[in-house]
C-alpha cells in the first residue's frame, strides 16, 4: 500500500511536470497513460488516471488526432464503468458516457468525468457529428450547474497544489470554446438548410469568446438576414463583425455582394478595394486566433457549409472584379490601374500568381483579360498601350486559328459534348473571337488616332475573321448563346467602325454599305444608325436621314453591362456626332 501510494505520487509529479512543461506532446502523456492503465482500475487512482487521460486527449485534439482521442476516451469510459461495476453492454459512446456519468454522480470524480465528456464533445464537433453533439447538449446543461462545484475545487487546488494533478487546459475554458464553436457550426449548417438561426447566433455572440469567433457569429447573422431579404440589417451585422475582428475579410466580401445587389456601385467598389488590400496583407487567410492557446478554434470549425460561407475569392479575382466594376461604372482611370496591376501580378513570378491555382479560379481566360484591359485603356484614351496589348493577343492566337469554324446544330452539340464544355474552353471559335476582338480594338485605336486608313485595314481584318464562322441560324442557346452574341456584336461593331472610317475619308458609298450591314448584324447599335443617317444626309438623302435619326432619337448609347465582355460593347471611343447639331439639321429640314 505504501509502495502504491508512492507510485501514485510519483506519477502525479510526472504528470505535473509534463503539464507545466513548455512543449506539450501527446506521446509522453500517452506513455504515462499506458503505464496507468496497466494496473487494475481503482477508485483511489481514478482521479489521477482521469486527469492524465484528459491531458493526453487535449494534446491529441490539438494535433488533430481525433480518432486516437476518441478511442482513448471510450476506453476510459469503459474503465470507469468497470470501477463502478456497471456494464451497459454497448459500445455506443453516448450511452456509455451517460451511464458513466450516472455512476459517478456525487463523487469526487464527477467533474473529471464531465471534463472528459467535454473533450468527447469537441471530438464530435471536429468530426462534424452534429447529431451526437445535439444529444449531448442536454447533458451539457448539467455543465452549468456544476460550474459552482468547479469553483470550489479551484480554491481547493490552490491550497494543496502538489497533490492534485495539473490539467493542461482549464475545462471551463474548453466548455466556453466548445459552446461558441457549436453555435457557429450549427448556425452554418442550419443556414444552408434554410433555417433561421438568428436568435441562437445572437445569444452566442454575447458569450465570452475570442474576437474572431464573435465575428463569425455576427457574420452568420448577417448571412441569415441577407437570406431573409434584409440587406441593410445584414450590412449592419457585417459591420459589427468587422468591428469585432478587423481581419474578418469574408464580412467585407459579403458586404460587397450586398452592395452589388443593392446596385450601390460606389460602395461596392470601395468594399472591393479594401478587400483586395486586406487580402494582400500577409496571413489574412488564416486569422491568428489565440496563438497562445493550446486548442485553436479552427480545429472545431471544419464543417463544409461553414467553410463555404466563409470562403473568399482569391486576391486576383477580387482585383479583376474591382477593375471591371470601375470600368463599367465610368471610373475608367481607376479601372485601368487595376487592370494593369492584375496583368502585372499574372506575369510576375510572384507566389500570388501561382497560388491562384489552389482555389477554383473565377478569373476569365487570359486573352479576355488582355482585351478587357485593352478596352479600358482605349476608354482612357491610351491607344498605343491598347494596341500593344492587342498585338500580344494577336501574336499568341493568330497561328492557332482554324480556317473555318462550323457551328453545329446546338441541340446535337449539347447532346454530344455536354461533358466537355469546360474542357474545350479554348476552342477555335473562342480563339477566333479573341483575335477578332483584338483587331476591332486596334481599329478603334486607329480611329481614335484618326488614322482612318489603318482603321479600315484593321476593321477589315476583324470582319474577315468573323466571316469564317458558319452557323445555322437557330435560336440562340445558353452555351453558345454568349459566343454567338459576341460574334454578332463584333460583326456589327467592326462593320460600323469601318463604315464610320469610310465616311471620314469620304467614301460614302462603302460607308453606307457597311453601316447598312452593321445594322443588319447588330440592330441595337446606336452609333451605326446615327452614322447611317449622317451618311445619308451627306449623300443628300435628307428625308431618309431624318427618318433614321428620328428613329434613333430617343435611345442614347446604352451604358456598359457586365453580361458581355466590355470589348464587345459600344465604347464611345470613335468620332461622335453631336446630337445638338443633328437636332439643328432636323429643324432645318423640318420646315422645308
Amino acid at each position: 500500500m505504501i509502495q502504491s501510494t508512492s507510485l501514485l505520487e510519483s506519477w502525479t509529479q510526472e504528470n505535473n511536470q509534463l503539464a507545466s512543461g513548455c512543449k506539450l506532446s501527446s506521446h509522453v502523456f500517452l506513455l504515462l497513460c499506458l503505464s496507468l492503465s496497466g494496473i487494475p482500475p481503482h477508485l483511489d487512482r481514478a482521479q489521477l488516471e482521469l486527469s492524465v487521460v484528459y491531458n493526453t486527449c487535449v494534446c491529441f485534439t490539438a494535433q488533430s488526432q481525433f480518432d486516437e482521442a476518441e478511442l482513448l476516451l471510450t476506453q476510459t469510459a469503459q474503465r470507469l464503468l468497470q470501477i463502478a461495476g456497471d456494464d451497459p453492454g454497448t459500445s455506443d459512446p453516448s450511452v456509455l458516457w451517460r451511464t458513466a456519468l450516472k455512476s459517478v454522480t456525487g463523487t469526487a470524480l464527477h467533474r473529471r468525468v464531465l471534463s472528459l465528456l467535454c473533450l468527447q464533445w469537441g471530438v464530435w464537433l471536429a468530426k462534424s457529428r452534429l447529431t451526437a453533439v445535439q444529444d449531448f447538449q442536454e447533458v451539457s446543461l448539467l455543465e452549468a450547474q456544476s460550474g459552482a462545484v468547479w469553483n470550489d475545487c479551484r480554491a481547493e487546488t490552490k491550497e494543496k497544489i502538489s497533490n492534485i494533478p495539473i490539467l493542461v487546459l482549464d475545462p471551463r475554458r474548453l466548455v466556453d470554446l466548445l459552446k461558441i464553436c457549436t453555435a457557429i457550426v450549427q448556425g452554418a449548417e442550419r443556414l444552408t438548410e434554410g433555417w433561421s438561426v438568428l436568435s441562437a447566433l445572437q445569444a452566442a455572440s454575447a458569450s465570452p469568446a475570442p474576437r474572431a469567433l464573435i465575428a463569425y457569429t455576427h457574420l452568420l447573422s448577417g448571412s441569415c438576414l441577407a437570406h431573409m431579404n434584409r440587406p441593410q440589417m445584414a450590412l449592419q451585422c457585417y459591420r459589427k463583425a468587422l468591428e469585432t475582428d478587423p481581419r474578418c475579410v469574408c464580412a467585407l466580401y459579403q458586404s460587397a455582394l450586398i452592395y452589388s445587389r443593392l446596385e450601390n456601385s460606389q460602395a461596392e467598389i470601395q468594399a472591393l478595394r479594401i478587400l483586395h488590400s486586406m487580402l494582400l496583407l500577409p496571413s489574412t487567410t488564416e486569422p491568428a486566433m489565440a496563438a497562445d492557446r493550446l486548442l485553436s478554434p479552427s480545429l472545431f470549425l471544419c464543417s463544409q457549409s461553414l467553410s463555404s460561407l466563409l470562403s473568399v475569392p482569391s486576391a486576383l479575382s477580387v482585383l479583376h472584379s474591382l477593375a471591371l466594376k470601375c470600368v463599367i461604372h465610368s471610373r475608367v482611370s481607376e479601372g485601368v490601374e487595376c487592370y494593369l496591376d492584375l496583368l502585372a501580378a499574372l506575369q510576375s513570378e510572384d507566389q500570388h500568381g501561382v497560388r491562384v491555382h489552389a482555389a477554383v479560379s473565377t478569373l476569365p481566360k487570359l486573352p479576355r483579360l488582355y482585351l478587357e484591359a485593352g478596352a479600358a485603356l482605349l476608354m482612357a484614351r491610351r491607344p498605343a498601350d491598347c494596341m500593344a496589348l492587342c498585338d500580344e493577343v494577336i501574336g499568341s492566337t493568330l497561328d492557332l486559328l482554324p480556317e473555318k469554324v462550323l457551328l453545329e446544330d446546338p441541340v446535337a452539340r449539347r447532346v454530344a459534348g455536354s461533358g466537355e464544355v469546360t474542357e474545350e474552353a479554348e476552342n477555335g471559335l473562342v480563339r477566333l473571337l479573341w483575335t477578332a476582338a483584338a483587331y476591332l480594338l486596334q481599329g478603334h485605336c486607329y480611329s481614335q488616332l484618326k488614322d482612318w486608313k489603318q482603321a479600315v485595314t484593321h476593321y477589315t481584318r476583324c470582319i474577315n475573321l468573323l466571316v469564317k464562322v458558319h452557323y445555322k441560324d437557330t435560336d440562340k442557346d445558353a452555351e453558345q448563346g454568349v459566343d454567338l452574341c459576341v460574334l454578332q456584336r463584333l460583326k456589327g461593331l467592326s462593320l460600323a467602325g469601318r463604315g464610320i472610317s469610310f465616311a471620314q475619308i469620304d467614301r460614302l458609298r462603302e460607308a453606307l454599305r457597311d453601316l447598312q450591314l452593321s445594322r443588319q448584324a447588330h440592330p441595337e447599335g446606336v452609333s451605326a444608325r446615327r452614322w447611317y443617317g449622317e451618311v445619308l444626309w451627306r449623300l443628300d438623302r435628307k428625308q431618309e436621314a431624318a427618318a433614321c435619326w428620328e428613329q434613333t432619337w430617343s435611345n442614347p448609347i446604352p451604358s456598359l453591362s457586365e453580361a458581355l465582355p466590355v470589348y464587345a460593347q459600344e465604347l464611345q471611343s470613335g468620332p461622335l456626332l453631336d446630337s445638338a447639331e443633328l437636332r439643328q439639321k432636323l429643324q432645318e429640314l423640318g420646315p422645308t
Partner: protein, 747 residues
C-alpha cells in the same frame, strides 16, 4: 591514365555537389578535395524542404519546387514555394494537382520513375537565367509552344511542366495560368524514360523546335509544329518512331540523343545523315516515316556497356562531345566522342556498316522465314485437328441422339462361322462396322466389342464373364466398312446365346497421335464411348450341320468317341436310368398361314424352306455362314451338332389333319437338354421377331418355359451335389415335356 582518373573524380565531385545542392536548395555548400573519394554527407533536418510520400521525381522552376508523387489512386504534382520564411520550417505548399491513375493494377511497379521537365517559350529568356539553361529546362520554339499549350499559356509566357508517367502518358501543366490543370499531351503506351527537346534547324537559334519523348521499350515520339495553314491553322505533328530498346536512361544535346540499353550506349542523330531527311524536307518523307516508324532513327553504337545514368553532354569548342555516365557497378565514366566529320559519316559509314546491316537484315529475314514456316505448319495441323474434331463431334451427336430402337447410321452386323484351328473348333464372329453416316470416322476411333454369354458353364461359378475386344482403326469414310473377326465360343462351350455389344470408343490421345506411353494415366477423361447396336449369337447360329441320316453315333474322330462315351457315362450316373441317353424334344407349332404371311415363305414346300430360313436368317444382326444346307430334297430333317457336341435333330412336320388350319411343327430333338432348350428358344425367337403380333402368346409361353427350365436346372444341381437322387427330376422333366408337347399353336 592518372590524369583521366583524376578527371573522373573531379566530375564525380561536381555531380555530387550539383545534385545535393539541387536537393537541398542552397543549404550548405559542400567542398571537399578532389580525389578524396566519395564522402558521406550528413544532412540535417534543417535542410528539410518538403515532406511528401513516394516522391518519384522533382524539379525546380524559378522559385517553385515541384514534386510528383504517386498516391493510391492518382499522380499528384505538388508545388512548393522555395523561399522559406524561416530556416526550420518546410516550404509553403502552393498548390497540388492530380491526375487519376489509368488502372491501379497495371502500375504496380513502384520502381519506375517519372520524368519532369520544364519548357518555356524560346523568346522568353528568364531574367536571371544563366547562359546555359539548367538541366531539364528547354526553351521551345514559340510557334510550337503556342500550338502545344494554347494561346493562354503563350500569352502568359508561363513555363510549362511536362510529366512523363510510367503508364506512358505525357501530361502538361502551365504554371502561371489561373485555374489550369494537368492535361494529357500524348500517350506513349510504355513507360516514359526521357523527355527532351532539340533544335531542328540552325535558324532556331537556341530554342528547340522539336520535343522528343522516349519510352522504355524504345518507342519514340517527335513533336513538331506543322506548317502554318496546312491543316486548319496548322497543328502539331506527332511523328512516331522506334529505337532498339530497352532504354535505361537518355540524354541529348542539340540534335543527338544518347541512350543506354544497359548493354550498349547508343547515339541517335535526329537530323543528320539518312534520318535527317525526316526533319529537313517536306512532308513526303514524314508520311513515310510515320507509316513505317522503324524506318528512321537508326542508332549508332558507342560500345559502352552497363550505363545506368547519363549526365547532360558537354560540347567542347572543337566539337568534341563529352558524356558523363554512371555504370551499373557504380563507376563514373567520362566518355569523349571524337568529332564526326562529314567524311566519316559519308565514306566510312557505308562500306562497313552497310555490308553488315545487309547481312543482318538477310539473316533476320531468314530467321523470320523459318519461324513463319514453322508457325504455318502448326496452324495447318491445328486446323486439321479442328476439322477432325468437328467430325468427331458430329458423329457423337449422331450416335448419342438416337434411342436404342432406331437404326443407327453407324452400326455393326455380324456373321458367324465355325473354324478349326490347332485341332480345336471355334465359332468365329466376323463383325462388320458400316459407316452409313455422311461423316468420316477419323483416326482415334476404336471399335470395342464385348462378348457376354447369357449363361455360363456351371464350372465357371455361375457368373457370366465378358470378354472385351477392341479394334482401333484409322479412317472410315462414309459408306465404307471395316471387318473384324473374333472368337465367340469354342467347341464344347454351351454358353449360348451370346450377346455381342458393339460400341465406338474415342480416345483423344490416340487422336492426337500420341502413344499410350506418353499418355497420362487418366485415360477416362480423354476417352468416351458411344454405344452401337447389340448382336446376339444363339444356338441356331452355333449349330453345326451334319449329314441328314446321321444318327448320334456317327461321330468319327476318336476324341468325339471318347467324348460321347464320357458324356453317356455321366448321364448314366446322373440319371441312373437306362443305358441309352434319353432323348429330349421340344416342339414349336406354327400355322402355315403365318409362315406364309409373316415370313414370306413359299407355300409349296414349307418344310424345307422353313428350315432353310431358320438356319440362314440373320436374326439378332448375326448371319450364319453356311455353304448350303444339305437337305436331301424332300427331307425335312436336319441333323447337326450343337456347340456342346450333342447331336441335334431338327424336324419339320406338316399336320394337315386339322384343316383348314395347317400346322407346321418344328421339333427339336436331342439328348442334351441344354441344346433342346437353346434351340427351342432360338427358333421361337426367330419366329417371334417376325411375328410381333403374337408377342403376348409367346411371352406367356416363354414364361412357362423359362420357369420350368430353371426349376429343372435347380433340381439338377441338387441332384449333382448328391442331396437327393429320387424320382423328382424325371418327373419334372416329364411335366416339362408334356408342356412342350402341349397343343400350343402359334397363329
Amino acid at each position: 591514365m592518372g590524369d583521366r582518373l583524376e578527371n573522373c573524380c573531379r566530375c564525380a565531385s561536381n555531380v555530387c555537389k550539383s545534385d545535393l545542392t539541387f536537393h537541398l536548395f542552397g543549404g550548405q555548400s559542400f567542398s571537399h578535395d578532389a580525389g578524396s573519394g566519395p564522402t558521406e554527407l550528413k544532412i540535417s533536418t534543417e535542410c528539410l524542404v518538403a515532406v511528401a510520400d513516394r516522391v518519384s521525381s522533382l524539379l525546380v522552376v524559378g522559385s517553385v519546387l515541384l514534386t510528383l508523387c504517386r498516391t493510391d489512386a492518382s499522380w499528384s504534382l505538388t508545388l512548393y514555394q522555395i523561399q522559406r520564411t524561416s530556416q526550420s520550417d518546410p516550404c509553403d505548399l502552393l498548390a497540388s494537382f492530380s491526375l487519376p491513375l489509368v488502372s491501379p493494377k497495371v502500375q504496380s511497379d513502384t520502381e519506375s520513375r517519372c520524368v519532369l521537365v520544364c519548357v518555356y517559350p524560346g523568346d522568353l529568356m528568364p531574367a536571371s537565367s544563366p547562359p546555359h539553361p539548367p538541366r531539364s529546362h528547354y526553351p521551345l520554339q514559340p510557334l510550337l509552344f503556342r500550338r502545344l499549350f494554347g494561346a493562354e499559356a503563350a500569352l502568359s509566357k508561363s513555363p510549362v511542366v511536362l510529366c512523363g508517367l510510367p503508364d506512358g502518358r505525357l501530361s502538361f501543366l502551365p504554371l502561371r495560368i489561373p485555374g489550369s490543370r494537368l492535361r494529357i499531351l500524348h500517350s506513349l503506351e510504355q513507360s516514359v524514360v526521357f523527355v527532351g527537346a532539340s533544335a531542328v534547324m540552325e535558324t532556331d537559334a537556341g530554342c528547340a523546335g522539336c520535343l522528343i519523348a522516349l519510352g522504355k521499350q524504345g518507342r519514340a515520339v517527335l513533336i513538331r509544329a506543322g506548317r502554318a495553314g496546312l491543316e486548319g491553322g496548322g497543328g502539331t505533328r506527332f511523328t512516331l518512331g522506334c529505337v532498339p530498346g530497352p532504354v535505361e536512361c537518355a540524354c541529348m544535346d542539340q540534335s543527338r540523343v544518347y541512350y543506354s540499353t544497359g548493354s550498349d550506349l547508343l547515339m541517335v542523330d535526329l537530323w543528320d545523315g539518312s534520318s535527317g531527311t525526316a526533319g529537313r524536307q517536306g512532308d513526303k518523307e514524314d508520311e513515310a516515316s510515320r507509316s513505317n516508324p522503324a524506318a528512321f532513327l537508326t542508332p549508332i553504337s558507342l560500345n559502352v556497356s552497363g550505363v545506368v545514368a547519363l549526365h547532360q553532354p558537354a560540347r567542347s569548342s572543337a566539337g568534341e562531345v563529352q558524356l558523363l555516365s554512371l555504370s551499373v557497378r557504380g563507376r563514373l565514366q567520362s566518355i569523349r566522342l571524337p568529332v564526326r566529320t562529314q567524311e566519316d559519316s559519308l565514306s566510312k559509314g557505308p562500306s562497313s556498316q552497310v555490308g553488315r546491316s545487309v547481312g543482318d537484315i538477310l539473316s533476320a529475314i531468314g530467321d523470320i522465314c523459318e519461324r513463319a514456316s514453322v508457325l504455318k505448319t502448326i496452324i495447318r495441323s491445328k486446323n486439321q485437328i479442328l476439322k477432325q474434331l468437328n467430325q468427331v463431334v458430329n458423329i457423337s451427336f449422331l450416335l448419342s441422339n438416337r434411342s436404342e430402337s432406331d437404326l443407327k447410321p453407324v452400326r455393326c452386323r455380324g456373321s458367324v462361322r465355325w473354324s478349326r484351328l490347332l485341332q480345336r473348333d471355334s465359332l468365329n464372329l466376323t463383325c462388320v462396322l458400316e459407316n452409313l453416316s455422311p461423316f468420316v470416322l477419323e483416326r482415334g476411333w476404336t471399335l470395342s466389342v464385348t462378348v457376354l454369354p447369357l449363361s455360363c458353364p456351371l464350372e465357371a461359378g455361375g457368373e457370366a464373364s465378358s470378354v472385351n475386344y477392341s479394334f482401333p482403326f484409322s479412317g472410315l469414310g462414309p459408306g465404307e466398312s471395316v471387318e473384324v473377326s473374333l472368337p465367340v465360343a469354342a467347341a464344347g462351350d454351351a454358353s449360348f446365346p451370346v450377346t455381342v455389344t458393339c460400341s465406338l470408343l474415342f480416345s483423344l490421345w490416340r487422336f492426337l497421335g500420341q502413344e499410350e506411353a506418353t499418355a497420362p494415366l487418366d485415360l477416362q477423361s480423354a476417352c468416351f464411348s458411344l454405344p452401337l447396336n447389340t448382336l446376339t449369337v444363339d444356338w441356331l447360329h452355333a449349330l453345326r450341320l451334319s449329314d441328314p441320316p446321321a444318327p448320334a453315333r456317327s461321330s468319327s474322330s476318336p476324341a468325339d468317341l471318347l467324348q460321347g462315351f464320357i458324356s453317356s457315362r455321366q448321364l448314366r450316373c446322373r440319371g441312373g436310368q437306362a443305358s441309352r441317353p434319353e432323348e429330349y424334344s421340344a416342339r414349336v407349332r406354327v400355322s402355315s398361314e403365318l409362315l406364309r404371311d409373316a415370313l414370306g415363305l413359299a407355300p409349296g414346300s414349307p418344310r424345307v424352306s422353313l428350315l432353310e430360313w431358320l438356319l440362314s436368317e440373320g436374326c439378332g444382326g448375326v448371319k450364319m455362314e453356311r455353304k448350303g444346307i444339305k437337305t436331301d430334297g424332300s427331307s425335312s430333317v436336319i441333323c447337326g451338332s450343337a456347340p456342346d457336341n450333342a447331336t441335334v435333330k431338327l424336324t419339320v412336320n406338316v399336320e394337315e389333319k386339322t384343316k383348314p388350319l395347317v400346322i407346321v411343327e418344328v421339333q427339336v430333338k436331342s439328348s442334351s437338354v441344354a441344346a433342346v432348350c437353346g434351340l427351342h428358344h432360338a427358333v421361337l425367337r426367330r419366329i417371334q421377331v417376325h411375328t410381333l403380333s403374337l408377342q403376348v402368346i409367346l411371352k406367356f409361353l416363354l414364361k412357362i418355359y423359362q420357369s420350368e427350365f430353371s426349376r429343372t436346372c435347380q433340381v439338377w444341381e441338387a441332384s449333382s451335389v448328391g442331396v437327393s437322387s429320387g424320382q423328382t427330376p424325371p418327373l419334372l422333366l416329364r411335366v416339362y415335356q408334356q408342356l412342350r408337347d402341349g397343343p400350343l399353336l402359334i397363329l
